[in-house]
């Protein structure tokens, strides 16, 4: 982290999110998915948000990406509180924060070709001639390691790994500052997982992207992130470097996550050439 930019890219302060449950007929009750969460993400960092299912990780990711409206709190992006911005400004800023879901297939509209999917975000930018836009499509496609002949394919013609890469390519078109990857590697074959991790590593190097991984899998996150924030019951209970988390977990929730790693955690940490991206 450079000292010339002390301001964090994202700074979340006292963020709360309550979901109201129940219908007309049953008694209403509230679920507090986020309870006064504070989180800072430095520019260029590589942070993983880890916690058991239902701990509020996805809710935090969705609030940050603008999919959900928080109940209270602040989300500052480059020093400006998103929640206080007008609709237009907010929509523009939102493009800098891209969220990638676990199920890539379902986040692609089956009625659009790969090319249309990539062109669509550029519609409102109103920049560049058609050839210029097309060139940009090919460019991002190459960045995620897909051949340009795939441009004419429909999503259902692509493999699972290709679809996930197309989703990443679509996010890149927006020239985002931060990518949030919510269980984006979950459910993929190990070899495809490795491919995508490698692509993400290269992208980060090339564009200075900031990553916020979201996963329940501490073992996997230990392999690809540099820092871990542990979530438990709507709060962030611990934040450490990967080495610290594995060596001396502070919170019982962290210990529980460590215990859930198959093959044990210590064997993993003691590996000298731990690959990080």
């Amino acid at each position: 982290m450079s000292n010339s930019e002390p301001q964090p890219l994202v700074s979340i302060r006292r963020l709360s999110k309550r979901y109201v449950q129940g219908s007309l007929w049953s008694k209403r009750f509230e679920i507090s998915a986020l309870k006064n969460v504070d989180l800072e993400v430095a520019t260029g960092s590589n942070l993983a948000l880890v916690g058991e299912s239902g701990s509020g990780k996805s809710t935090l990711a969705k609030c940050l990406a603008g999919f959900e409206e928080p109940s209270s709190g602040e989300i500052c992006f480059e020093g400006r509180n998103l929640l206080a911005l007008g609709a237009k400004q907010r929509a523009r800023t939102r493009r800098s924060i891209q969220l990638i879901f676990q199920d890539a297939a379902s986040s692609l509209n089956p009625g659009f070709t790969a090319e249309d999917i990539l062109l669509e975000p550029m519609v409102i930018q109103e920049e560049g001639a058609p050839e210029e836009r097309k060139r940009r499509c090919v460019e991002v496609l190459e960045q995620v390691g897909l051949a340009r002949l795939l441009l004419r394919r429909w999503p259902h013609e692509l493999s699972g790994g290709q679809r996930q890469r197309l989703v990443i390519a679509r996010a890149l078109i927006m020239k985002p500052r931060i990518l949030i990857l919510d269980e984006a590697l979950t459910g993929l074959d190990l070899s495809i997982q490795a491919q995508i991790v490698e692509i993400l590593r290269q992208l980060r190097k090339a564009h200075g992207l900031t990553y916020l991984y979201v996963s329940h899998n501490l073992g996997l996150m230990g392999a690809i992130a540099e820092e871990i924030a542990v979530m438990h019951e709507g709060k962030i209970v611990e934040r450490q470097s990967v080495q610290q988390i594995f060596r001396s977990p502070q919170h019982p929730a962290t210990s529980a996550l460590l215990a859930a790693i198959p093959g044990g955690s210590l064997a993993f940490v003691s590996r000298p050439e731990r690959p990080t991206i």
Binding site: F101, G111, E120, P121, H156, E157
Partner: protein
């Protein structure tokens, strides 16, 4: 292409099966047009015997069926006892009137249902949605008969539209005037019919759109910061197209039957009234012809829907690679 060919062959098979079944059932039903004739003392038994031979009614069922197939091949679709005319032109003359009514009514219902359904889904749970929902639910529970009568009474009182029929007796001034006269007579039954089918279409579009709007691909589209109208009409409507197109096919299929009641109440000279007569008179071939014609329309409707699905949905048009 193979997909469409298969659908076409399938349709032909269905048509063939329906013709066989209607012959079987008609053969099992007691009495024919000629049996009723026997009750008339003015017609001699000899005449009836001649007629019976002429229409082939003295032959066994399989022979009659083959003769009928032959007449289908010649474009006659059998002979009507009551009219003493080939069935096909008889039906076509009436069916044309029915289609004049049902085709524009269905089109009108769709033209209202699609934007209204999209609007309601987009407004889901808010006032616009509630009003659209309440309005269409009200129309849904009011029987078509009451709706038709209410509109007719209003028409008679305000003298804006004729209360029935398809044309005025004394107007015959030329093409333009004729068309004007037809449209004037058409308005009331058309609105009644369109109102009757609107709620079903509306609900279908709304449900399809709600599902589409909740899908992750729509969330992704919103995250791109696209304008709401583009998200609604380009992204969501394309997702909702499948169920809507399927219903479109079905709505084509019911073009002949949906207007039966309105034809009778508003004395529209369509197929409905003729079919009713033919059944009562046991005019065998006319009934079978009408059944075959509506089957044909049903299959054509489904084929059109398939064709549209085929062109609209790449998942059907192009199978997965490998």
């Amino acid at each position: 292409m193979k997909y469409l060919l298969r659908r076409l062959l399938h349709s032909l098979a269905v048509l063939f099966g329906i013709s066989l079944l209607s012959f079987l059932f008609a053969g099992m039903a007691p009495g024919t047009y000629l049996d009723e004739m026997q009750l008339n003392p003015q017609i001699s038994p000899a005449t009836i015997a001649v007629l019976r031979a002429q229409y082939g009614m003295d032959r066994p069922l399989p022979v009659r069926y083959l003769r009928w197939l032959n007449s289908v091949a010649h474009g006659d679709w059998g002979y009507s006892f009551a009219y003493n005319l080939p069935v096909a032109p008889l039906i076509w003359r009436r069916a044309k009137n029915t289609l004049w009514l049902t085709l524009p009514a269905t089109l009108l219902a769709w033209l209202v249902a699609i934007p209204l359904g999209v609007f309601a889904a987009n407004q889901s749970g808010r006032w616009g949605d509630r009003i659209a929902e309440a309005g269409t639910s009200t129309i849904l529970v009011v029987p078509d008969l009451i709706l038709a009568l209410a509109l007719m009474i209003a028409a008679v009182h305000t003298r804006t539209f004729p209360a029935g029929g398809m044309s005025s007796v004394n107007v015959q001034k030329g093409r333009i005037a004729d068309i004007h006269d037809l449209l004037w007579h058409l308005t009331l039954p058309l609105i009644t019919l369109a109102l009757g089918i609107l709620p079903v279409f509306f609900r279908h579009v709304r449900a399809g759109m709600l599902e589409a709007l909740a899908s992750p691909s729509l969330q992704a589209a919103r995250a791109l910061g696209l304008p709401p109208s583009r998200i609604l009409f380009k992204h969501a409507l394309r997702l909702a197209a499948n169920p809507v197109l399927s219903l479109f096919g079905l709505s084509m299929a019911s073009l002949l039957s949906s207007s039966l009641l309105i034809e009778v109440v508003m004395s529209w000279p369509g197929l409905g009234a003729m079919l009713l007569e033919a059944i009562l008179a046991r005019d065998l071939y006319l009934v079978i012809g009408a059944v075959m014609f509506s089957t044909l329309l049903l299959l054509a409707g489904n084929l059109i829907a398939d064709l549209m699905l085929y062109t609209m949905d790449p998942r059907i048009r192009i199978g997965p690679s490998q």
